[in-house]
């Protein structure tokens, strides 16, 4: 059995069976990473078995606003669901709901219900009038339960479900002497139900191709579409399309897809994808030592996230550009705080504006953004390994095992012979125990050493000139701008977006039978010159997104 090093995460990992999982392997004589992919025949298509996905905090808030109105104040869940490892979209199918969350959902349901049923607000939501507003009115409550239920549970309610909710509303109205307070309990029941909080990949329709598979029915497709593209619950038009059976036909699905991509909400949806892919939510907790970085402020992380998402939004929606520009574009979106760190002229006095890094700048796409540079550094200095790991894992979908826990990883203090960070981390690439993994990270990260722990440009590190050169995929680069060009040409860059988008949209890691889906989408992506919206289109129209199968543990 020949051991082959591979940076592809999805190459058949036969070799790893021979090596302890915690160890890395690799020759230190040849620091190039040969990217021979062990090519195995791609299995025939089989749908994935799906997941039970809880709404993310953002989806929860967005959905309440969509149904009850933008002016409703939703107290955010103080327990963040940002995930330091992997996608929040996938964690949504894995992590249990905690009792803290259950308490939050209950109190929030009644907080928003109270606001929604307040005088003035409720007229937009209650389409009937009670005979006597100081007591129950079963007929009107029933109408309300059906209409709200369809929107909140993303499907029509059964008669039994409606009756159950209305019974509590009637009792509430009578006990509290107010019809509309009674309706609050209908909202309370709808918003706390697992039918709202979770999306289940059941596949309620028969699959045309294979009796062992299932197709998602119209309502399931509506939910899949709206949470992927808009990061919120389906709107009335989408629910209507579901009711009329249009979402299970190619023409109908395509038409709704067009409508949704044209809608401003799609920009928020695609932003949510990049936010998750690049782990930008974690920037809320960005912390730098003010003694070392006086330009750091507590809002900087959030500002940096705003910038990166805006640059990507412009690339996707305004320019319809090549996704791979993500590592080469000179576009920036800055306020005065960010501009000061970048040493750019702020495009506006207050708030944000677009501008560009100058021609001779070495900042290359997100590699030069504060979100990446500061977000993957220590509180007091840069981290070549941290930045390299980010790029390898989040942009290239590489996988890097955990470092050995008992190893002394002390970084030598700067001294006569080891002045710069590059000097001080040499051990990573010279020690065979370290090199196998660090070769995937350090050469990339060390090219960014012209940017300190906050992302500010510097020529010197501890008084010595920064050497930003290195090698990627056998090609040499002199500086981060040249690295950006090499990354742009790395097939992993575009393939990683395909894989990440598919995982994000389905909320699961792809199964063996879905490998072919990724291959086909990669093909579509390339043919579309790596524009993102055509990829989104291809994904939604693909049977991979529209089919599922019984969970494996149920098949026995």
């Amino acid at each position: 059995m020949v051991l082959r090093r591979s940076a592809h995460a999805w190459a058949p990992i036969i070799a790893l069976a021979l090596v302890p999982l915690s160890a890395c392997y690799g020759s230190i004589d040849d620091p190039d990473v040969t990217r021979d992919v062990l090519v195995a025949p791609v299995p025939d298509f089989a749908p994935g078995s799906g997941a039970l996905l809880r709404l993310t905090n953002a989806q929860y808030e967005n959905s309440i606003h969509a149904v009850l109105g933008e002016e409703i104040v939703v107290t955010p869940n103080s327990a963040s669901d940002a995930s330091p490892e992997g996608l929040t979209a996938i964690e949504a199918g894995i992590v249990n709901v905690s009792s803290r969350d259950v308490t939050y959902y209950e109190s929030t349901a009644y907080q928003v219900a109270g606001q929604a049923m307040a005088e003035g607000v409720r007229d937009g939501l209650v389409t009937c009038t009670p005979a006597d507003a100081s007591t129950s009115d079963t007929a009107c409550a029933t109408t309300f339960a059906r209409e709200m239920g369809l929107r909140i549970w993303r499907r029509p309610l059964t008669d039994a479900e409606v009756e159950r909710l209305v019974a509590v509303a009637d009792e509430g109205a009578e006990t509290l002497g107010d019809f509309y307070q009674g309706l609050e309990f209908i909202l309370g029941g709808l918003l706390q139900s697992p039918h709202f909080l979770f999306r289940a990949d059941i596949g309620d329709a028969v699959h045309a191709e294979n009796a062992d598979w299932r197709a998602f029915d119209g309502y399931e497709m509506a939910a899949r579409l709206s949470f992927f593209l808009w990061n919120e619950t389906p709107d009335d038009a989408l629910l209507q399309a579901a009711a009329e059976g249009r979402l299970t036909s190619d023409e109908g699905l395509s038409a709704e897809l067009d409508r949704m991509l044209d809608d401003p909400r799609a920009r928020r949806g695609i932003s949510a994808l990049f936010n998750d892919m690049l782990g930008l939510e974690l920037l809320d907790e960005l912390d730098k030592l003010p003694e070392i970085f006086p330009l750091f402020t507590p809002d900087l992380g959030a500002d940096a996230r705003t910038e990166t998402l805006a640059v990507l939004d412009e690339l996707v929606f305004e320019r319809g550009g090549d996704y791979r520009d993500i590592v080469t574009t000179r576009r920036a979106y800055v306020n005065r705080r960010l501009a000061a760190i970048y040493r750019l002229t702020a495009p506006s006095r207050d708030g944000f504006g677009f501008t560009e890094f100058p021609e001779d700048s070495l900042r290359s796409g997100v590699l030069g953004h504060i979100s990446v540079l500061a977000g993957n550094s220590h509180p007091d200095r840069s981290s070549a390994t941290g930045r390299g790991a980010f790029i390898r894992k989040r942009l290239l979908c590489g996988s890097i095992p955990a470092p050995p826990a008992d190893m002394n990883v002390a970084l030598p203090e700067p001294s006569g012979t080891a002045v710069t960070l590059r000097d001080r981390v040499q051990e990573h690439l010279q020690n065979p125990v370290c090199a196998g993994c660090h070769i995937l990270m350090d050469p990339i990260g060390l090219s960014l050493e012209n940017y300190d722990g906050l992302g500010q440009f510097r020529l010197l590190d501890n008084g010595a000139p920064v050497n930003a050169s290195g090698k990627l995929n056998g090609e040499e680069f002199e500086n981060p701008a040249e690295l950006g060009v090499l990354l742009r040409d790395d097939p992993d860059l575009s393939r990683c977006l395909v894989r990440t988008m598919y995982r994000y949209a389905t909320g699961t890691e792809e199964e063996t039978g879905e490998t072919i889906v990724l291959r086909e989408l990669e093909q579509s992506f390339a043919e579309a010159e790596y524009r993102v919206l055509p990829l989104v289109r291809a994904l939604v129209m693909h049977r991979g997104f529209r089919s599922t199968t019984t969970p494996h543990d149920e098949a026995e």
């Binding site: 999982l21 490892e85 992997g86 709901v97 009792s99 008992d406």
Partner: protein, 447 residues
């Protein structure tokens, strides 16, 4: 909101409208029996458990106490000196080793000491616990005996729960509150009632009916799911039922509470200070609220995650971040040493808050065991031997105080977990599993 300093005095001055009680007067002496050591209804003073956790370990050579045994036979080390006022209340266990492997730095140690089991590996540096953490195992044991099954708070932890370790099981984490106002609202908000408060909210019964419906929805949904997802929904339903029970309790007369119970004042938003001393204030507020939650029998189990594993926290007065210094500082690591002493000083604050709660003839610490530990010993190497663990309090006379118990043979640290569960009255024969399984507790620290 303008930043205000909240002293303990000010905190305790807040109370329910209508209850005219001065500071220092026992509020509810009448609920204690003549001996002051039991509730008037005949039940004993409740036994409690607390877990206090800090991230990134210690430095064993400056940590391990000198001498072994009880009282004068042992003396505090340099790193434990900040706990001097509590020496008579504390026992130190040293020399034990976590035997469940070190797959992922910090996480494996935490898993080993808190569950006695190997960390479940999820790829990369991702992991979860195989079994409930010790606070949750004990919460299971006490389930139903107080309004909240358990409470989790923290300071240098962020909002994602990362690096804290209260787990009910795999992928089932309790994320601690890191803002005092959120903790206050959760514990002392709408759901907090004192004896005498007999007004019942008419909406409670309606809310419970709605929750019945939610459970029905979950049962209907479950039928269509695979086994793994059914389990997740089951866990959700368990939490819903617990919430229903809480609402039902709110419809009954408030239960007995300890004599020191009072409703604290709302701490409000804590303003960020440039010198980072607001973290000390957050910690002090959390300590007092934890103590009061226990005094008021709102829970039997608390865990306080002072600093998360791998935290790069810049403690007040320090320029460098904690985690990086544990790895990068050379030699004897004098800065890390000072940081560890700072952490121990904060632990002392927490213990003081517990000690200040008078119960029966003594204090809350007499009816409680507080276990303090971390995710490794020497942070530089994430060492699993010389694992640092301290006990405070005597758990209703079951645990010895003022001891240094040392294992010279690298005994299984799970013995500590078993000692704790036994002190809580649990009848489990073992703690942990496989290499981490212990079937003996530490007799030397058992009274």
């Amino acid at each position: 909101m303008a930043h205000q300093k909240f002293s303990r005095r000010r905190m305790l001055r807040g109370m329910l409208a209508g209850s005219a009680v001065g500071l220092g007067l026992p509020l509810l002496d009448i609920f204690l029996n003549d001996h002051g050591d039991a509730m008037a209804d005949g039940s004993g003073l409740p036994l409690r458990f607390g877990l206090w956790f800090w991230g990134n370990g210690n430095i064993p050579q400056f940590w391990t106490p000198t001498g072994e045994g009880e009282g004068d036979a042992w003396a505090l080390s340099e790193q434990l000196e900040p706990l001097a006022i509590h020496k008579s209340r504390m026992s130190v266990l040293s020399g034990y080793k976590v035997l469940t492997g070190n797959d992922i730095a910090h996480k494996s140690g935490a898993s080993g000491i808190l569950t006695g089991r190997k960390l479940v590996l999820l790829g990369g540096e991702n992991g979860t616990f195989a079994a409930p953490s010790i606070d949750q195992a004990i919460a299971n044991h006490f389930d139903g005996q107080a309004f909240h099954r358990s409470l989790e708070s923290g300071v240098y932890i962020g909002a994602t729960g990362e690096g804290t370790w209260s787990f009910k099981g795999e992928h089932d984490q309790n994320k601690p509150f890191n803002q005092p106002i959120d903790f206050f609202t959760h514990v002392f908000g709408d759901t907090f009632r004192l004896p005498g408060d007999t007004e019942v909210d008419p909406r409670l019964g309606l809310r419970r009916s709605i929750l019945d419906g939610v459970l029905e929805d979950a049962a209907n949904l479950e039928r269509e799911l695979g086994a793994h997802d059914r389990q997740r929904l089951d866990a959700h339903m368990t939490n819903i039922r617990a919430l229903e029970t809480q609402l039902a309790r709110l419809e009954e007369d408030p239960p007995m509470v300890g004599e020191a119970c009072m409703q604290p004042a709302n701490p409000g938003e804590i303003a960020v200070e440039a010198d980072r001393t607001h973290f000390d204030e957050i910690h002090r507020l959390m300590a007092e609220m934890n103590a009061m939650a226990l005094a008021c029998n709102q829970t039997r189990v608390v865990s306080h995650w002072f600093s998360k594993s791998v935290n790069g926290a810049q403690f007040p007065g320090f320029v460098d971040g904690h985690h990086r210094m544990t790895h990068d500082e050379a030699g004897d690591q004098p800065l890390v040493n000072e940081m560890t002493k700072y952490i121990m000083g904060q632990l002392a604050v927490f213990v003081s808050a517990l000690e200040a709660v008078e119960e029966g003839d003594g204090t809350l610490l007499d009816n409680m065991l507080l276990m303090a530990t971390t995710d490794c010993s020497l942070g530089r190497q994430h060492l699993l031997e010389e694992y640092p663990v301290m006990f405070f309090g005597n758990a209703c006379g079951r645990i010895k105080e003022d001891c240094h118990i040392r294992s010279s043979t690298l005994e299984n640290a799970s013995k500590i977990g078993l000692t704790v569960t036994r002190a809580m009255g649990m009848t489990d024969a073992t703690f942990g599993a496989d290499a981490g399984e212990a079937s003996d507790s530490i007799g030397a620290v058992e009274a």
